[in-house]
């Protein structure tokens, strides 16, 4: 290998600073809107495909397995299990699994004693008060251990 001797990677940059003010207004989509309405009612909804006999979150109008239309929504169980977790400072984040449902839900986890956390532990969502729900993922305030 030969290198350009000018290329020592140590010289100083001459910077130019710029910023681009961009803002987006997204559509939640057909399945996303249903999921959002479910959150407002304190429910986590999965889509189901009766051909594949599968439910999945996040819900989708199509089945990833057979690529046909999904045929409805089902509520996931009230308690899930901890698939994995990670932490930084006071914050714990988790991926939660629900029985019989493909897909995990990512969210915050609040626990009194982090050392007790174990993969496979039962966890449940804690919703904010109904009056202040907006149909956002943050309508779930956090997950907690269901023991």
């Amino acid at each position: 290998m030969e290198y350009n001797p000018l290329f020592d990677g140590t010289y100083h940059l001459r910077p130019w600073v710029d910023s681009l003010p961009l803002e987006y207004k997204y559509s939640l989509g057909v399945a996303g809107k249903t999921f959002s309405e479910g959150l407002r009612r304190g429910k986590i909804l999965a889509s189901k495909c009766s051909r594949c006999n599968e439910s999945r979150i996040p819900p989708s109008i199509y089945c990833v397995g057979c690529f046909g239309y999904s045929d409805g929504y089902v509520q996931v169980s009230e308690t899930g299990t901890l698939y994995s977790f990670a932490s930084r400072g006071d914050l714990v984040v988790a991926a939660v699994e629900f029985k019989g449902v493909k897909g995990l839900l990512f969210h915050r986890l609040v626990v009194s004693d982090r050392n007790k956390l174990e993969i496979g532990a039962p966890v449940r969502p804690v919703f904010v008060q109904e009056a202040i729900r907006k149909g956002d993922i943050t309508d779930i305030d956090h997950f907690e251990l269901a023991v």
Partner: protein, 385 residues
């Protein structure tokens, strides 16, 4: 399909922040690759360039922006993009240009300039998450990699210390790479005591953000034989992409990597990869990912890559050297350029031109792999001499 050779490779240094623009980096790497192939841009029929998210540069149409630095002006030019998997996808895409007979000579360029984005390149990754389900929770890539690392450790009972051995090996290997950004002699203890970023991921488990470029020259058999007595052949390519919902797959085993590898193995006529691959450049943006990917590539049984690492099998003088270059952990991780660097390492190793990095045993067949997008893509190239 026609046989396809690699006849030249070149790269810039990888650094956290370079004076050179992306175009200039692309030029430096392309020029070095052409010089190594003893070719000029007029010999090149088409150019395939890869670069990861436009958000690093704040430049939309980054492929077009980089075009003239990559020698693509006035030629059939394609930018390919599969996130972190891009670097190994570039030579795969260049391969099909030559194999199909569309082009005789293709310049394949990987460029990444991550440093412009303020205050840190990581912020670009906010834009890859789901707008509704994930962004409101402030999710970052490091969080989801931590979830994946913990799942992997938990299912197979793997210790953090075993994972740290990968960082020790790769940063050590990079001591012999002239382009390396983070060559280091460190111990497992150094990794364990490094700053926790998102537990269980620590500072020294992670590759750096980088600027850099790397390039290859691919040629048809008749052209290759005119320019070199020593062509290295691409005998297998494979790629596979899973859903963007990272939550909807097994975080413990990269099935998409297995599928990409199987596609490449089938093409190369390989039935027992653990025995038939002499060495590999496996994607290692995090130390646990090298282990994860060795398993997906069938170079290790599930959960056994840490044991092979502990036993020294993956060292340069081991039975199956992994990342003799120093990998992303040691050489650096300018995303698309890092993958091309891995394929360039196959080229240098197979030709016996890797200098102090040359693996001890004779090598005839190597594999390079990259991974990326939202933990969803595997890209594989197999080369033989």
């Amino acid at each position: 399909m026609r046989k396809v050779a690699v006849i030249g490779a070149g790269m810039t240094k990888f650094r956290h922040r370079m004076l050179e623009t992306g175009r200039e980096l692309s030029f430096e790497a392309s020029r070095a690759a052409l010089d190594s192939a003893r070719m000029d841009i007029k010999n090149v029929d088409s150019v395939v360039l890869g670069s990861a998210p436009d958000a690093f540069d704040g430049l939309h149409m980054k492929g077009e922006y980089l075009l003239d630095g990559a020698g693509g002006s006035g030629k059939p030019y394609t930018r390919v993009y599969v996130g972190g998997g891009t670097g190994v996808f570039i030579p795969a895409a260049a391969w099909w240009h030559v194999a199909s007979g569309v082009s005789d000579v293709v310049l394949a360029v990987g460029e990444e300039k991550m440093s412009p984005l303020q205050p840190h390149p990581q912020y670009a990754f906010w834009s890859i998450f789901d707008q509704f389900l994930e962004r409101p929770l402030g999710v970052t890539l490091l969080w989801i990699f931590s979830l994946e690392m913990r799942r992997y450790m938990s299912v197979y009972g793997i210790k953090e210390e075993d994972i740290a051995l990968v960082a020790v090996k790769n940063k050590g290997n990079a001591m012999d790479h002239p382009s390396a950004q983070l060559p280091m002699r460190i111990t497992v203890d150094d990794v364990m005591k490094s700053e926790p970023i998102c537990t269980p991921v620590k500072r020294l488990d992670v590759s750096p953000t980088s600027d850099g470029a790397a390039a290859l020259v691919l040629a048809s058999e008749d052209v290759a034989r005119k320019y070199t007595d020593d062509p290295v052949w691409i005998t297998g390519v494979g790629w596979n992409v899973d859903t963007t919902f990272w939550t909807n797959r097994d975080l413990c085993y990269p099935e998409y990597v297995e599928k990409a590898a199987m596609m490449a193995y089938k093409m190369a006529g390989i039935s027992n990869p653990g025995k038939e691959i002499d060495f590999a450049e496996v994607y290692d943006p995090f130390d646990y990912k090298e282990l994860h990917h060795m398993e997906g590539l069938q170079l290790a049984k599930r959960g056994e890559a840490p044991k092979m690492t502990r036993e020294g099998v993956t060292q340069r003088d081991g039975d199956l050297p992994i990342n003799p270059s120093g990998g992303l952990l040691g050489v650096g991780n300018p995303i698309a350029a890092a993958g091309v660097m891995k394929v360039a390492e196959l080229f240098w190793q197979l030709r016996g031109e890797a200098g102090r990095r040359q693996v001890k045993k004779p090598v005839h067949r190597g594999l390079a792999q990259a991974w990326g997008d939202l933990m969803q893509v595997g890209t594989v190239v197999i080369m033989e001499r």
